[in-house]
């Protein structure tokens, strides 16, 4: 660079990583150094170009569901076989209960046709950037699967 400021410090300055004192030093230097000034300008241009572009890859919904089901399945599958049957039933009921509670505490009117949908809704409700998602109501033929199967009074 031919200048004592150094490229690294310049980029730290661009990223707001310098203390106020050092940042002021850099600015003073930029006012008098052509080569650093143009390097700074390039850096700004590159950052601006990146910020203008939408480069954030959203996780596919199918993967969201896979992850949650994997997690639930992974924990529930590690059971001593002696208690195999009733632990599975209890765990299943437990998961069902959790999902039902979650379902009832959601205020959107939705037609749910599978456990996967409820699971996906649950995941979505947890994620800030999915709060405005509305489940499509295309499934006119599907009965809400919880009908008549509730064994406890859900909290309202």
């Amino acid at each position: 660079m031919g200048c004592k400021l150094g490229r690294n410090l310049l980029h730290a300055y661009l990223d707001g990583e310098l203390s106020l004192e050092r940042a002021l030093d850099v600015e003073e230097h930029l006012a008098i150094c052509q080569s650093c000034s143009s390097e700074e300008s390039y850096g700004r241009g590159v950052r601006a170009a990146i910020q203008r572009s939408n480069l954030f890859y959203q996780m596919p919904e199918s993967l969201e569901e896979k992850v949650f089901i994997l997690a639930a399945g992974e924990r529930l599958s590690k059971r001593p076989s002696r208690y195999h049957h009733w632990i599975w039933a209890l765990a299943g009921a437990g998961v069902t209960a959790i999902l039902l509670v979650i379902f009832f505490t959601m205020s959107q009117p939705v037609a749910v046709s599978s456990v996967q949908d409820v699971v996906a809704n649950h995941i979505r409700s947890l994620m800030l950037n999915h709060l405005t998602d509305v489940v499509s109501s295309e499934r006119h033929n599907a009965k809400p699967w919880f009908n008549g199967k509730v064994e406890f009074a859900p909290p309202v």
């Binding site: 690294n8 170009a49 203008r52 954030f56 890859y57 997690a71 639930a72 209890l90």
Partner: protein
């Protein structure tokens, strides 16, 4: 036993689920395609659940990003070792650079061009740039997630940004 499972899943929901999108984005940028990122995300999520009790509080995003980052690198070491090369092919960048010699955007609003340029960076430079510019992590946070010293984070960013500008003239 059953209550502990529920507790683990609840912790997973609190600690990991809010950062799944960010984790996926990092994996996607490191690995270069959706299918591999999908595989790595599933593996990383299982690992996160397995070690959820070791998370004692603090930055849960950094914790999950570290797991995904490490899982991605392990995957590359196993499947695409060549992608771990640090070779900087400067010449390759000339037709996808995004800022010209007057530091004007070569083509405004051309996301694809910018994305392409970043995707062509060697992975260690790319991940630092992605963590800084897309995830907004500080140098300290980037250092924590990647295990790379702060000084190296700084120089990698400088190098990556330089590579994204026009090399001609």
């Amino acid at each position: 036993m059953e209550g502990k499972d529920k507790q683990r899943i609840r912790r997973f929901e609190q600690v990991v689920v809010p950062h799944l999108d960010a984790a996926y984005n990092l994996a996607r940028w490191i690995l270069g395609n959706q299918s591999d990122a999908d595989d790595v995300m599933q593996e990383a999520s299982l690992r996160a659940l397995k070690f959820i009790d070791s998370f004692q509080g603090g930055d849960s995003r950094a914790w999950m990003l570290t797991i995904v980052r490490n899982t991605s690198y392990s995957w590359l070491r196993k499947n695409r070792m060549a992608d771990l090369s640090d070779e900087f092919n400067e010449a390759v960048h000339t037709d996808v650079t995004i800022v010209d010699t007057e530091s004007r955007l070569v083509s405004l609003l051309d996301s694809e061009r910018v994305g392409k340029a970043i995707a062509m960076l060697p992975v260690r430079y790319r991940e630092v740039l992605v963590l800084r510019e897309i995830h907004g992590l500080s140098y300290k946070e980037i250092s924590a997630v990647t295990g790379v010293p702060i000084g190296t984070v700084m120089s990698s960013l400088a190098r990556a940004r330089q590579a994204l500008r026009d090399q001609r003239a």
